[in-house]
Structures are given as C-alpha cells and as structure tokens.
Amino acid sequence: MSHANKLKYQQIYTVSSPEEMQALAGALAVQCVWPMMIFLQGDLGAGKTTFVRGFLRALGYQGTVKSPTYTLVEPYQFGAHKVYHFDLYRLNDAEELEYLGLRDYLSEQAVCLVEWPERGLGALPPADLWVKIEHAGANRLLSLWPKE
C-alpha cells in the first residue's frame, strides 16, 4: 500500500477507496501509543467507521466492526490494551456522557476513537490527534492534525 509509511501531520492524503482508507488507518494504528484520544471529523458517509475498521484490523482484530451510532460505544480488547470506538452522533447534550457512564471509559488507559466529537465537547478530554476526512467527489481527503 502506498500509504504504509509513517503518516505526517498536515499532509493531505487523497483516498480513492475504502481499502485505501483502511490502509491509512492501519498505518496510524501501528504508530499509535497508549493511551490516546483521537477525534474523527467528517460528514455522514465520509468513511469514519471504515477508518476505525482499518485501525482495528491493523491491530489484529478480525471480527466485525459495527457502527456504534446506536450503541454510542463499542469496546475492543487487545491483550492488556483497549480500544473504544465512540460515535456521539445521537448525543443531544454533552451532559449525557455522564448518564451513560462514558466518563469511566474515558479515564481508562485506552485508545479512544471518537466520531462526532463536536457533540461531546466540554465533556470530552482534549484530543491528542484530529483526523479530518472530507468529501471530494468519489474520493476522500484525509489529514491529521495535532492537539488543538
């Protein structure tokens, strides 16, 4: 895969297929250090869940990676390491994170991949990394940004 090298900040990667998206995410996953808070920014259908699927595959997870839109969070375990895949799309209020017990997840030594982090701002800890995915016709433009 063309993107298998170390990913760079603020470089824009053109992604032309779900497979490429997964490969890019995989390259990030193998560089990743625990714990880490990663925010995924992009419209509906941009490929955020596809990105997370690639991330988890690169860590060795073979099962299905379901959309967490309904469940809000899907946990994955890799030995002592944990990855939490959040989707805050259905959150009406950042305060709900409290009712859901999600704060407990956030305080663990885990990698958190958060879709729609905008909806949890104020209740979420700051991101270590932003992944931005934009539509560009049939392609997607992906870029990485360090802390705000």
């Binding site: 869940t49 990676v65 379901k66 839109t69 969070v73 709900e96 859901l100 016709g137």
Partner: protein, 332 residues
Amino acid sequence: MLVLGIETSCDETGVALYDEQQGLLGHQLYSQVALHAQYGGVVPELASRDHVRKLIPLLEQLLQQCDKQRADIDAVAYTQGPGLIGALLVGAAVGRSLAWALGVPAMGIHHMEGHLLAPMLDNPLDFPFVALLVSGGHTQLMQVNALADYQLLGESIDDAAGEAFDKTAKLLGLGYPGGAVLAKLAQQGQPERYHFPRPMTRHAGLNFSFSGLKTFALTTWQNSAQDAQTRADIACAFEQAVVDTLVLKCQRAMQQTQLKRLVIAGGVSANLQLRQKLTFAAARWGGQVYYPRLEFCTDNGAMIAYAGFLRLKRGEFDPDLRFNARPRWSLS
C-alpha cells in the same frame, strides 16, 4: 405470578406488569407519557437516557394504571444487557434492590430475547421459528428453537438497516432520524429511475451490510439535479434495495432452516414495502409471517416482563444479591 419488567438498555425507559393468568396488565414508556402526577404538575425537561430520574415515577404510574400495589409484585425482571453500561446499571440496580426489598426473586434478561419473544405477548406462537430483528440498532436473523435455545444465523457487519434509513434520510436533507419520512417519500418515487446494489446477496450466507448503500445514495444525490422528484426517486431506489435484501435473506434463512414461521421485530418492521414483499415471499415458502404489536417492535418493558416470566416460571432467578450489567452479551 405477577412480574414487573424493567427496560433501560439504551434510549427508552420502559416498565410493564405481566400476569401469569391475565397476560400483560399494562406498560409504560417514558417517551410516551406525561408524568404530571408524579412530578406535582410540573414535567421537567429530562435529558434523554436519564433513566435515574425517570424510572421511579414511571413505575408509580404503571402501578396506578394497573391498580396494583408494590406488594403485589411476585418477581422482577430487568434488562441485564446488551446495551450501554450506565443505562443498564440503572435498571439492574433498581430491579434487583426492589426485588430484595419486596423479598421476591429477580432475573436479569437479555434484551434481544425480549424482542424475539415479543410477538407472543399478543398471539400464541409455537417454537421453532426464525426471527428477523431489524431496527436502528440491530439487523439480525436468529433461529429460535425454544426458550433459551437460540442460534444466530446472520447479522449486519456494519450499519443496521434502520440506521441506514435514518442516515440516508439525513443525507437527502430529510432530517435525523428520518427513516420513516424517507419511506413515505419513496412512495412518490419512480422505481425504475435508479438501481441500487443489493449488498451481500451474491454470496451465500446470511450476513448484511448496509453502510455502502448510504454512500451510494450520497454519491447518486450529489451527481443529480437535486430536485424534489430526484430526491423521491433516490429514496425509492434506496428503500427497494434495503427491502429486497432483507426479504432475500429471510427467504434464504427459511430455506436453510426448513422452518415455516418467520417473526419480524424492530422498528423497521413497520415499513409497508417490507411487509408487502414478505407476505408474497411467505406464500412462496408456504409459511407465515408474524409481527409483534407495533409498540412492542421498539424497545419496551413488556417484552422484558414476558421473557422474565417465562424464565422465572421454569425456576430461574438471580442466585444472590449481586448484580451486574453486561454491555456485550451474545444471545446464542
């Protein structure tokens, strides 16, 4: 035996009373009731999923509705999983402690078992059967051999069908969640104008994938004139693709299991196209399709009370005062 059922696995706070002789006595869902009496005339704006503040007033309302006292309750069933940990713990804590206070048994119930058995709340239905659970959160085909004997036949590997409906509606500018609006708009669409793929139908197997359809709809919309008729045409093509895929997989499941009865549960089971096509398909395999009452298709307390009743009836109950929630819990 009078069983109280408590459901708090995700968005809804639901409670119900099921009686061994009389069947379902009543049920309450927070989103559908006004809790005037319990809040002294003032209904506060509660955040959704704030089960803590909703559950007790709802319970009081249920007892009043059914003309029962707390002391009449013979057992308590609560949703133990799967779902959101914080939400589940509220129902489990209230259910287990109420049972302890009343000196009656408690029983943790699998949320999906509740859905599978929900048609039996209204109509007699014999085991075995196949169940398609299709909602905003789930798309699963399950073989139900008997109580507590379930086999997963297939499920969505990404988005649930209802989620695909809701997200596609949003992409078409119909708001969120707009699955039902999309289905209504689809009636005005020209069925032949667009053709969407039927995901995962070419290969054998009973799994589903709906995430790609959402993206397909988006691309089609972006490359179109984006007028009202096009929106209806895309809605129509999208709905046809989802419905055809669901029907085809159901048909395969019936062939594979050699069973005749099919249960459809979950919010998407209200879809008229799905119901029509399944009726035709069922005639082909010489079987029958069953639907729970619409209000029991989505999350509710009645299905938990009923599943709890069946489990308690055969002597099951929580062994001690410990309780836990199981956010991830496989049924089969």
